[in-house]
């Protein structure tokens, strides 16, 4: 399979142009939504509400070039002539065009308003700020005066806390299933014991079970064991739901390792445990890394499992829940939503772009997740 492609890459200039053009179009469609989010998160609240994020690109817009108070003796109820434009007050309020790139506009009310002359010019809207992030990240409390005079304090959007929670959930929820699955995979691949086949079939069969099916009974158990809203509870849940795939992938990999290495280690008197720690784990790093990235992204981005097992406990809330709650409670505060969303995306994006190779390998190995 080594002698593939590369011949196809040089097939005429028009062909290349067509291919790259089509590709560019798709790539643009795919990246613009994220780009919009990123740009908007740095714009002020006022800018977001009044102008589209695309106004950061050069565009033609009305720019004020002259501004004056009309003389008081001008009769505002009849036709006026101001700066060369002629019209009634209503027409001036809407703006009177002198030519295609100049207009005269009445701003404010009839008595004390002012007249503005605007020209259309190329401009960009590059007024960026970090305030949104400050507001989203800070965990400070606000005092809100209620209509009845009492003062209610409210926690601001504490995304730093949620970020820490996400880390606390995601790191163990990645490492624990890997450890357990690696032990099990080694056991299935290299140990002889009664029921080996049966147990392995059970593990693989559980790949088909969607995790929704488990939520209700596990929640009942958690309520009884008081595991609900604890880190341990959510780690174990992610472990349980990630284990079939992890075991399956690692089994395939570990079984494929050269047999003679292990046999010579056995002859040297090494125990299973030593072989596993000293030989198998180091040799399996590519497979472990693939699954680790897969699981980490999955746990970090998970919403449903967190929603059910963390529930209403704000001090354990993870980023996805925090963000989803924000969508519900202040769906129009785009300056906060965009910043919050980007905070929740930054770590997975970094992991993804730096370790893409392993991630792709994991996907190719079989991406069936219950």
């Amino acid at each position: 399979m080594a002698t593939t492609t590369s011949v196809r890459k040089k097939s005429g200039n028009t062909g290349q142009l067509l291919v790259n053009g089509a590709l560019l179009l798709i790539v643009l469609i795919w990246t613009i939504p994220t780009f919009a989010l990123l740009v908007s998160s740095f714009r002020t609240r006022f800018d977001i509400q009044t102008t589209g994020w695309w106004t950061i690109l050069p565009h033609r817009a009305w720019v004020t070039v002259e501004e004056f108070q009309p003389r008081p003796e001008v009769d505002r109820d009849s036709v006026m002539t101001l700066s060369g434009a002629q019209g009634t007050f209503e027409e001036f309020r809407a703006g009177i065009a002198l030519d295609s790139s100049k207009q005269v506009l009445w701003v404010g009310n009839k008595r004390i308003g002012k007249v503005v002359v605007q020209e259309k010019e190329w401009t960009t809207n590059l007024d960026f700020t970090l305030d949104n992030y400050g507001q989203v990240l800070a965990g400070k409390t606000f005092e809100i005066r209620q209509p009845d005079g009492s003062i209610r304090t409210e926690q601001a959007d504490n995304f730093v806390g949620a970020f820490l929670n996400s880390l606390t959930v995601a790191i163990p929820a990645t490492l624990i299933p890997i450890l357990i699955a690696a032990f099990a995979a080694y056991g299935f691949a290299w140990m002889r014991f009664p029921g080996r086949r049966t147990f392995f079939v059970i593990v693989v069969a559980l790949l088909v079970v969607p995790l929704q099916i488990a939520l209700v009974p596990i929640l009942q158990d958690y309520v009884r064991l008081q595991l609900n809203g604890t880190y341990l509870g959510i780690w174990l849940a992610h472990t349980g739901f990630g284990l079939p795939l992890a075991t399956y992938l690692l089994f395939n990999y570990i079984r494929g390792l050269p047999r003679d290495i292990l046999e010579s280690a056995f002859i040297d008197g090494a125990s299973h445990f030593t072989i596993f720690i000293r030989l198998i784990l180091p040799l399996s790093v590519p497979a472990l890394a693939s699954f680790a990235i897969f699981q980490f992204l999955w746990v970090w981005n998970d919403y449903l499992v967190a929603l059910i097992f963390v529930g209403a406990k704000p001090e354990v809330q993870v980023l996805t829940m925090r963000l989803a709650e924000m969508v519900g409670s202040r769906g129009n505060d785009w300056h906060l939503l965009t910043a919050g969303a980007f905070v929740s995306m930054i770590l997975p994006l970094v992991v993804f772009f730096s370790l893409q190779r392993f991630f792709v390998r994991g996907l190719l190995a079989g991406s069936v997740k219950g």
Binding site: L23, W30, F183, G187, V203, L206, A214, L215, V216, N301
Partner: protein, 372 residues
């Protein structure tokens, strides 16, 4: 023979053996006890502590990962130090696979049976009602809409992801910018569905100064802006605007698998086709597609499963309102919002039954291909 003599020798010096190993024995009992005590108190510390969040996070991570590792270490040390060879050979495999099997039984195998059992009872779980919850599920209008929507997700979502993914894989294979283009189209895979929901909510926003789609729409047609996700006038096609989010998320996945498959096609076959005068389109349909059929099936089934289980996108973007509910959001609503344990569980079982056939087919494909 050798082993027998060894054992006789051993049993002869039993007292001596115990005396010399008494510290080892004590340690073997004390260490597991201490480990369990440590883990137990750690759990309560984490649950009830008021320490600063950073500290708690660090303690939790070390406690959790270290605890699991310690359990293996202790259990294995126990087997290797205290048991003789024959017992060790019997017990040790279960130390290796035991935790995995136990967790899988608790978290997936038993819950399937338990959910089925709950689904046969009424909504308080107090009375056995047979299959009447299922009857209710299949006669409910909301559920009917949910089923229809899941079919829309499969018809439009899965097929678009597969087709666009294949298109990008083929185009990128011929482009000099292959890596960059693939990276960018793959990127949404790293974004949570909640995050994607926010991104696309903004794109669909009614205010044409915020939502790009409405800015284009109002600019081109002069009509007033449309609430794309909620518009009753275009129902059920408002679902397409949610489906687009999944296509955006999943196309990268399809592309990566197709790309690998296309690179696996031996170039001689393609070149031979070209020599015989086949056009590029013929090469694509007559040579490439048949060659990667297996991958196409795997990708399609995986994305179909994904569409059947879709939850986050709908929950975040519309909450299942405006006729956009799907099976998984109906399950959430029945069980957690309406507190109907029986019918909620029945929906979960229905979801399982729809997913299982596709999944089995998918697994069979996967094992045929001998991946990894």
């Amino acid at each position: 023979m050798q082993r027998v003599t060894k054992e006789i020798e051993k049993s002869g010096g039993l007292i001596e053996w115990i005396a010399s190993n008494v510290s080892r024995l004590l340690a073997a009992i004390a260490i597991p006890l201490l480990t369990f005590l440590g883990l137990y108190s750690g759990f309560f510390f984490l649950r009830d502590s008021n320490a600063s969040q950073g500290v708690t996070a660090l303690v939790a991570i070390v406690w959790g990962v270290g605890g699991v590792a310690a359990l293996y270490l202790v259990a294995n040390g126990f087997a290797e130090q205290l048991l003789n060879d024959r017992w060790r050979a019997t017990v040790q495999p279960f130390i290796f696979i035991g935790p995995a099997v136990a967790i899988l039984l608790w978290y997936l195998a038993l819950p399937t049976l338990r959910t089925f059992w709950i689904s046969l009872q009424d909504n308080n779980g107090s009375q056995f009602v047979g299959l009447s919850n299922y009857l209710a599920v299949f006669t409910n209008r909301n559920m009917f809409t949910a089923f229809r929507n899941n079919i829309l997700w499969i018809l439009f979502g899965a097929s678009s992801s597969v087709i666009i993914g294949l298109l990008v894989a083929v185009l990128a294979d011929r482009s000099r910018f292959e890596r960059l283009a693939k990276s960018l189209i793959f990127m949404p895979m790293a974004i949570s569905m909640v995050g994607a929901g926010v991104i696309w909510n903004m794109l669909y926003e009614v205010n044409p100064d915020v939502g790009l789609l409405n800015a284009i729409y109002t600019g081109l047609t002069g009509n007033p802006a449309i609430a794309w996700k909620a518009a009753a006038t275009i129902a059920p096609w408002n679902n397409l605007f949610l489906i687009a989010v999944m296509v955006w998320l999943q196309t990268g996945f399809a592309m990566v698998l197709f790309s690998a498959a296309i690179k696996g096609i031996p170039s001689e076959i393609v070149e031979a086709g070209r020599m015989d005068g086949a056009t590029e389109i013929q090469v694509f349909f007559r040579i490439m597609i048949p060659y990667i059929t297996g991958t196409i099936i795997t990708v399609s089934t995986t994305i179909i499963i994904f569409s059947l289980k879709i939850f986050d996108v709908v929950q975040v973007m519309t909450g299942g309102q405006f006729g956009t509910q799907v099976i998984a959001t109906q399950f959430y609503r029945e069980y957690f919002t309406n507190q109907n344990a029986g019918s909620g569980s029945a929906i979960a079982i229905v979801l399982l039954l729809t997913v299982v056939p596709v999944m089995i087919y998918n697994l069979r494909q996967l094992s045929d291909q001998e991946a990894f």
